[in-house]
Amino acid sequence: MLLIKNVKLNGELTNILLTGNKITSIVKDLGDFMDIPSIDGKGNTILPAFVDIHTHLREPGFESKEDITSGLKAAVAGGFSAVCPMPNTNPVTDNKYIVSYIKMRARESGLARVFPIGAISKGLKGDELAEMASMQRAGIVAVSDDGMPVTNSNLMRKAMEYADGLGMITISHSEDKSLAEGHANEGANATRAGIEGISRVAEEAMVAREILLADSLNVAVHIAHVSTTNSVDLIRWAKAKGIKVTCETCPHYIVGTDELILNYDCNAKVNPPLREERDRQAIIAGLLDGTIDAIATDHAPHTKSEKDREFALAPNGISGLESAFGLCYTALVDSGLMSLDRLSELMSKNPSDILNLPCGELIEGGLADFVIVDTDKEYEIDSSKWYSKGKNTPFNGRKVKGQIMTTIVDGNIVFNRETEERI
């Protein structure tokens, strides 16, 4: 048994008793529980641990960027108890053997839960369906060709139907490559910097296609990393019609715009690209009115030398696990735009529900996966101190509020900022 004393839950100080990996009771008055092992929450806020449904752990294949252990350290340091690694590994996660390998490596690390996402198509090539059912038996919770769009609409249709038959959702990386032959958002800033632009329509056209497919087939689809005004509007329209579409955005679309590329900082190069202020505002509006269901990191670590080069040649991606909460809390909650409860839903319950994961809630009898955050703590983002191998963020030096103090997964303390226990 473990007692978490003196933590703020829904704004009120309370204590939480764990037995094994379950939350046994939430008690205001300590009374008889005084003698059992305890940790002091010091009046900080307790939340269900975050669930990242869009992560790149890079293993197998790209261990210089990240491996499962370093990625999971980054996850728990960022307050995440569960992550869903995307299948663009090498070899591609398109078969049960790779899924089993990832699950095994995750068990060895023992830090956070790992729910892999399998490929839609063999080798992410967009030609033939991957063995989704066998992969599901090995542990995948959804399918996606993330990083590569499924250009062939008929294959996407088949994927959505086949996955739905297995009770799994298909996640769409929406991008029409023929409109995306650039390196930054098409607009005044890319023009000024002389960088070839990526049209918003590259994303929006495929978002529209997925919505229409989901409607006609009456199956669910999840849109990854939504970044534009029109994508938000399309999804809002679809939801109003009762189409089974959910979507996520990422912290960088909430806090960043394409002004960050003006000095050719490759750490701001990401796909979809950072957009303009009006898009950022539309993303925030979508988060506020429920059009956007979840915040996912799209954690995409790269090595320093891969990002320290000519802008056009640098790979896309931002390392996001360890800055997600600080950036989102500062931009959304501390700014007064939404309650901490709503942010918690966006980072825990909703993403968990989208993929039918057993996570995301802090209730009696529920899994003991939670995070203690100091919402008053102000600090500067400094990726050199991160656990992730990927130090690639355009937000270094940005002042944020809200720091992860303790992360507990399955009843175990897996991260403690003060003692750095278990890390």
């Binding site: 098409e186 607009g187 005044a188 800033n189 890319a190 023009t191 000024r192 910097a193 002389g194 960088i195 070839e196 632009g197 000095n263 050719y264 030398s305 320290d308 080069r309 000519e310 802008f311 056009a312 040649l313």
Partner: protein, 303 residues
Amino acid sequence: MRKDLLGLEGLSRTEIEEILDTADTMREHLDKGEINLDYAKGISVVNLFYENSTRTRTSFENATKFLGANQVNIAVGSSSVAKGESMYDTVKTLESIKNSIVVIRHSMAGTPHFIAKKVDAHIVNAGDGQHEHPTQALLDMLTMRRHFGRLEGLTVAIIGDVKYSRVARSNIFGLLTMGAKVKLFAIKTLMPKGIEEMGATICNSIEEAISGSDVIMGLRIQLERQTSGQFPTIKEYFNEYGITMDRMKLANENAIIMHPAPVNRGVEISGEAVDSDCSRIFEQVTNGLAVRMAIIKLMAEGK
């Protein structure tokens, strides 16, 4: 003069005038046939051309020679980018050359800026992708100033492939700083989104661009723009959007025609216009040499 010349964005009027004034002096030397100068003795000018260039490279090489500086050529080419050679490693080798000015041309925007952050040497951007080509815009401004005696109040029409043009961007930055007005005309497929936010005025027709302008600057239309589907045929392009003597009648009296060359006669401009009395296209080449001499001289003084 600053450590580097990466672009005209952010340069003040005084900084631009310093370069143009020095270039006027260099032009006087050239006109007198004085090409054994020693303004940059002991300086090494390193050419790092990742993209093919005959004119700009020759211009820099002559400027180097005329000022008494040493020419260093590092063999790189467009192929080294394709081969995945690390820019960082190339840059490291540059650090061993003391008192150097490195002239970089690269097909990717921002590469000179990337290198400038890594080395102590002076960096001159000789064209980075579709971003900036500051020495070209400076020679353009020198040419205009020598013809009109001023830049303030001039109206400059830039016509052609604006989207892919670093010359257009550098001229917009520089000319607006100097108090000129810039009008742009390109067919819509070759007009980059949001360029009006840089302060230029977008025209809806070539006639509108030329009307009331003092300088008509054509930009090269690469033939691959047609094959990649930006416009239907060369013939249609020239008929509808070419700079011709007939259309030049709309320009102000005393207006001049300019072009960064190489010119595609019969595509973006008629041969007649290239060779006309109001053309300054060949004058631009001499002024290019003067501007590059001025930059090397100023950087050498500031070492």
